[in-house]
Amino acid sequence: MEYSQTIRRLSPLNIMLSIKQTYFIIVSIFCSLVVFAQEQDTVPTSFRLVAELGSGYSYKLNEPKTTLGIYTRDGIAGTVRLKWGSSNLLGIGVETGWIPVSSTKNSALLSEFGTMNVSASLSAVPVLAVFSIQRMGIQLHAGLGYYRMNSTVTIAGSTMQSSEWNLGYILSLGYARPLFSNYGLGAEVKWNNIVEQQVSIISFQIRLICRLFGD
């Protein structure tokens, strides 16, 4: 309680600033992408509707502020993306999926309430508008939207579930090759940033691409 303690600065402002930065980042990226695409545009354009399914390893980049025992911050994430756009310029679509953020467990936590069995997990379901550009099989995605954060906590036999929507964004870099006439296979590195919860997750996913409509 001494007055000499370290004091933290302005969390609300930090968050507000981050949201503003988020918008700025997304806009900056797409300005860059559009310029890049236009400079590279030398082949005829066709339009298509594409579905993508991805899955792979995810890892939460932030250290936890507190741990209760065994702490896990990796897992298997999944992505579903529906995208419409040209074959070699910009695409637009929506993305959802499931991201395991972290989990913790302690079967004998000493607390003011006695020795307790505690487990908790946090996951995120993104609902994002995504924009993309592709060239020579390389795809850049950026998206903005909300993440549904889901927390499940069990303490001393009592289970609680709680959720909320948080603003966030995504950036990803992928590569894809045609497999059959309407199918392709690829890989993608994704960076999900859930701004309000200050959570960053990187994932490496294999993805199956299916052309639903168009050339």
Binding site: R9, S11, I25, S111, F113, V153, S163, L171
Partner: protein, 406 residues
């Protein structure tokens, strides 16, 4: 693209914490005996600033605040908080100064030698017009070298005005040493200039009244990876196990908070800002219990159930608390009369309402205005509002304005 990636990397969260400095090895106070409160109180007064007007302005208020001595400067809601001690007949004051509406802070060290009033103050002789309170302040953790001289001008004439510190003492956004609505911030509130506090009360899933402002958990208020969404989704055990306030404190219960008020402060008013109808009945029981405890300790402690919405007022009436509990009502004066509230608390943006406040006073009620932080409005409200108190995020500023100019 390089620029874009750079921006993304720069946007990662940074910890903008600052440190309120302390003297190495405890400073001179390490070898000093503590001063008694009445000895500290001898220094209460309005002082002219002889040296240090750039830092403090032209006049300051010096006031005993619990076990500490505070100086309220007015400039940027500045304050100095001293821990006090004596070595032989010399009085030692060491602590920190800071602008609470800013980020500047530093060490502060004042001293009254035995020959220069030290002996007389210890004998209970109050300072005269010739008394000078002298010391040095510094920037951040550097050795304090900037000379400050305060010339005693006059005593503080009236300390009855209620200065209520918002959220127990102040908001997280003002980078205080303790988190808002924590037990620690309640203990600091007096040193900031408050003689009352406002704290936020809401129930957990299992009905325990806790101190928490927002309906939902967020990184603004807590650290806790699994604390997501409504507070009311979590049991008390879960909250205490999984969440800490921003400076690492546990989320306190209302009982713990009132225990601290009673046993570790001399605060005289507690405004319980009730955040949910579901907690009114329990809060009223606890209010009654702690008023009795205060009475048995010989303490004057007013605890009010703060009702800010029609829904809360309806539940208050439904629970039949009108005759048993003391309420503070933020709605109209008619609502205040309807529930026989003891305090009317209009928002300050309505402007001074001296006629209504005077009417409340004539009915035996008090008027507190909330949440007034703007210096240019504080004095007009004090002088022209017929107020009994002000709720503020900057009690140091209200204390300065009230004691110096009222």
């Amino acid at each position: 693209m390089v620029v874009t990636v750079s921006i993304v990397l720069i946007s990662c969260e940074t910890d903008n914490s600052i440190v309120v400095p302390e003297f190495s090895n405890g400073g001179k106070l390490a070898g000093a005996l503590p001063l008694e409160r009445k000895q500290i109180q001898m220094l209460n007064g309005i002082y002219d600033v002889i040296d240090g007007t750039d830092q403090f302005g032209k006049i300051v208020v010096v006031k005993q605040t619990g076990n500490t001595l505070s100086i309220f400067t007015g400039k940027n809601a500045g304050l100095v908080v001293f821990h006090c001690g004596k070595i032989d007949s010399s009085l030692i004051f060491e602590g920190y100064w800071r602008y609470t509406q800013g980020s500047e802070s530093g060490l502060a060290q004042f001293e009254i030698s035995a020959e220069d009033n030290g002996k007389s103050l210890l004998r209970g002789i109050p300072p005269t017009m010739s008394f000078q309170f002298r010391g040095v302040i510094g920037d951040a953790s550097s050795e304090p070298t900037t000379k400050i001289t305060l010339q005693y001008n006059r005593p503080i004439s009236d300390t009855s005005f209620v200065i209520l510190a918002h959220r127990g003492g102040g908001r997280n956004s003002d980078r205080l040493a303790e988190s808002e609505n924590s037990l620690g911030i309640i203990q600091l509130a007096e040193s900031f200039g408050a003689n009352g506090i406002e704290i936020d009360v809401r129930p957990t899933k299992d009905g325990v009244p806790i101190l928490f402002h927002d309906e939902n958990f967020s990184p603004r208020l807590v650290d806790g990876e699994y604390c997501v969404g409504p507070v009311s989704n979590y049991t008390f055990a879960a909250i205490r196990t999984l969440c800490t306030l921003k400076n690492g404190e546990r989320v306190p219960t209302l009982r713990e908070a009132l225990d601290v008020v009673l046993n570790k402060t001399t605060l005289s008013v507690v405004w319980l800002d009730i955040k949910s109808p579901d907690v009114i009945a329990q809060a009223a029981e606890i209010q009654k219990e702690y008023k009795q405890k205060a009475s048995s300790m010989g303490r004057t402690l007013d605890i009010y159930l703060g009702l800010a919405t029609e829904e809360l007022v309806a539940r208050y009436k439904k629970e039949d608390l009108i005759t048993s509990a003391g309420a503070l009502c933020e709605l109209s004066v008619n609502n205040v009369r309807d529930i026989k509230a003891k305090v009317w608390a209009p928002r300050w943006t309505l402007g001074p309402l001296p006629a209504d406040a005077q009417q409340m006073r004539s009915e035996g009620r008090k008027t507190f205005v909330w949440t007034l932080d703007q210096r240019e409005f504080i004095l007009p409200f004090i002088t022209g509002g017929n107020l009994d108190g002000i709720l503020t995020n900057y009690p140091a500023l209200v204390a300065f304005e009230y004691y110096a100019f009222h």
